[in-house]
């Protein structure tokens, strides 16, 4: 059972019903012995009456005399009682007519017992001593059985009602109990990086749930201050670094604009401007990473069709590949939509493409494979470059790690793949490198969750 409320209800209903069933069982035993005791008393009363009719001289009666004295009484009570009187040594005997000559079953060593007789049914039998006679009086136990059957029926109905009622009560009760916890869950769910100041409402009580809510609120306080620190650092660092950068750039450009610089100096100023742009890029990327690690980047996740997205991207990719003298092939399989924000995934793809183009030999082939399958959108970019040994492949996603840079005079910051990994993990996906299918080359693959194609069968 998945929810606490269902579990609570189940155990509540089970324990209530079982308790009631045990009580009913005990009641059954009590009631039955009570009713049987009543029968014993009836039998005893009949015995007393018989004794009276037999008179004080009963010890000397023969069968006939005995018959004369008690036949009438026994006949008048024959609906209720079966009577047998015996003398253990002589054959003096009396049997009520309703026995029709049969013997009342005897259980040796017991004076009161239940027995069953053919043609009559269940009986309650009591043996009395009226020395020298043994008097056995039995009465039908049907009334007891009927009563017990009724009792069982009523109990069963009550148990069923109890089960239904306790499920209802259990559900209501668990809802009531879990209401503060539900409130906590909803609030905690709502609190994200964009509304970290919201708190779980805490009732003015001192129970386990409010304690939990207070603890969670304290945790959110700590989280919020950590977030704020990162945001503030990122803003301040940004401001402190970029204002001087602006000034340097503006002055450098002014020097160029005003002219009069010897060509060698003009070239030096241009290099400065280019390096400034690079520095600015590194600052932006590092600040992006620190925000991404703090989950302070907001990503607008929406379902998009990867096929259409790639169509646009491929235009640019082909232009870039053509320009660098490499070949570019893209394929896409599967229908459906993946959940992502286009500009971020585009940035990842451009980064993978740039790396692949840089690593490729002249006229080398860079291939992009995209596939929607099994709830994932998987895209891999593969080159025909020298590839990387396994230990280096693991490390290319780390900050400032660069390999094979001498090949094409790579001017990257060494943060591109780190950023790509951040972006993909913000999309709930993963990115990894593997050797390409051919003899050499590197393949970088990312996967992000997709939605199943709704129209794959219909169309």
């Amino acid at each position: 059972m998945r929810s606490i409320s269902a579990r609570l209800t189940f155990w509540y209903a089970l324990s209530a019903t079982v308790t009631l069933a045990i009580l009913f069982l005990a009641g059954y035993q009590l009631l039955e012995s009570r009713l049987i005791h009543g029968l014993d008393q009836l039998n005893e009363a009949e015995f007393r009456q018989l004794k009276e009719h037999l008179g004080a001289d009963y010890q000397h009666l023969n069968s006939q005399a005995m018959d004369e004295r008690i036949r009438d009484t026994s006949e008048s009570s024959s609906v209720l009682f079966y009577i047998a009187i015996e003398h253990p040594k002589t054959d003096i005997k009396f049997k009520s007519r309703n026995l029709q000559g049969r013997e009342i079953p005897d259980i040796k060593g017991k004076r009161a017992y239940s027995a069953s007789m053919e043609g009559i049914g269940d009986l309650r039998v009591d043996e009395f001593l009226l020395a020298p006679f043994d008097v056995t009086i039995a009465t039908s136990a049907r009334s007891v059985h009927d009563g017990m059957r009724e009792y069982v029926k009523v109990c069963a109905a009550l148990l069923l009602a109890m089960l239904v009622a306790s499920i209802g009560i259990g559900l209501g009760l668990s809802r009531l109990l879990l209401r503060p916890i539900r409130a906590i869950r909803e609030t905690a769910n709502r609190i994200g990086s964009d509304n970290l100041s919201e708190r779980i409402p805490v009732a003015d009580l001192n129970d386990e749930v409010t304690d939990l809510a207070r603890l969670l609120n304290q945790m959110f306080d700590r989280l919020e201050s950590a977030f704020d620190q990162i945001r503030r650092f990122s803003d301040e660092a940004s401001h402190e670094l970029k204002t001087p950068l602006s000034l340097v750039r503006l002055h450098a450009e002014k020097m160029l604009r005003d002219g009069d610089l010897p060509p060698a100096h003009a070239e030096a100023v241009l290099v400065q401007i280019e390096e400034l742009a690079r520095l600015n890029q590194i600052i932006d990327e590092m600040l992006f990473l620190s925000r991404a690690e703090a989950k302070a980047i907001r990503i607008d996740l929406k379902p998009h069709d990867p096929a259409r997205f790639l169509e646009t991207f491929n235009q640019d990719a082909r232009a870039l590949a053509e320009h660098s003298g490499r070949r570019y092939v893209a394929t896409h399989k599967g229908r459906g939509r993946a959940v992502f924000e286009e500009k971020w995934v585009r940035q990842v793809l451009l980064n993978l493409l740039t790396n692949a183009l840089n690593a490729s030999p002249p006229t080398g082939l860079v291939s992009l494979r995209s596939e929607l399958k099994g709830g994932l959108w998987r895209v891999s970019v593969e080159d025909e470059g020298p590839g990387l040994p396994a230990n280096q492949r693991e490390r290319i996603f780390e900050r400032f790690v660069r390999f094979n840079t001498s090949l094409n005079g790579d001017r990257g910051s060494g943060l591109g793949l780190t950023i790509s990994r951040s972006i993909i993990s913000l999309h709930g996906g993963r990115i990894f490198a593997a050797p390409a299918n051919g003899e050499q080359g590197l393949r970088v693959t990312f996967e992000i969750p997709s939605l199943v194609a709704e129209t794959s069968v219909a169309a």
């Binding site: 970029k242 602006s246 400034l276």
Partner: protein
């Protein structure tokens, strides 16, 4: 054009005031939110260049106040904070454009011109210069009367240049207009499209159409 610069950093403010004056603008410079409000009460400005982090308040709040009180002159935000979040927030409260630091003076001037042009739009449907003719309605391009076949991106690029003929356009500005992000600045995608466009136009025309301004951008001659 009369411009109010709101920038707390002393040297940057001075530089901007001087730079804008050299380009025939009348520039006034203040360092605080208060100073900005006082200046606006005093005179009417055509445009406000506003830094976001000011010592006595937040630039975004300032724009919000201005817009709420019915002040409608164009506002160009200048900010070190280059996260997309800030950009959207600034434009949401009613700023008209946003320029991330570090920027180039050319870029600032180009954006200021664009903002003022937005005020007084005279829509042309055919742009023509140096023998290149661009029909905005028919989406066609002719060089010396001969039709030239351009891809979608090349056409968009040419349109931006012809709308701003004779001016240096920075890489960030072009990139933002075409890809609505400036990440492409870091790849050489823009240079790739520029060289294709150049090959097509200059091949047909037999003379240079664009000038590369190193470290800054391109200019349609």
């Amino acid at each position: 054009m009369k411009v109010l610069i709101v920038e707390d950093e002393m040297r940057l403010g001075q530089f901007l005031r001087q730079g804008l004056s050299e380009h025939a603008h009348t520039a006034n410079w203040v360092q605080t939110c208060r100073g900005a409000n006082d200046a606006l009460v005093e005179t009417k400005y055509d445009l406000i260049v506003l830094d976001l982090s000011l010592p006595d308040g937040d630039g975004i709040e300032l724009v919000r106040e201005w817009r709420a009180s019915g002040f409608n002159e164009p506002v160009l935000i200048l900010s070190a904070r280059d996260s997309l979040e800030d950009r959207i927030k600034g434009l949401d409260v009613g700023a008209d454009d946003y320029l991330p630091k570090p920027f180039s003076l050319e870029e600032l001037l180009a954006r200021m011109r664009a903002l003022l042009r937005r005020q007084s739009v005279t829509k042309q449907t055919v742009l023509e210069r140096n023998g290149v003719k661009l029909d905005l309605l028919g989406h066609t391009v002719h060089v010396n009367g001969e039709a030239v076949d351009l891809t979608g991106r090349e056409y968009a690029l040419l349109e931006i240049f012809m709308q701003n003929a004779g001016r240096v356009l920075t890489r960030t500005l072009i990139s933002e207009k075409i890809w609505s992000s400036h990440y492409e600045v870091d790849t050489n995608l823009l240079d790739v499209y520029m060289s294709r466009l150049r090959a097509k136009l200059e091949g047909a025309l037999g003379k240079p159409v664009f000038k590369t301004v190193r470290g800054i951008g391109y200019q349609f001659l």
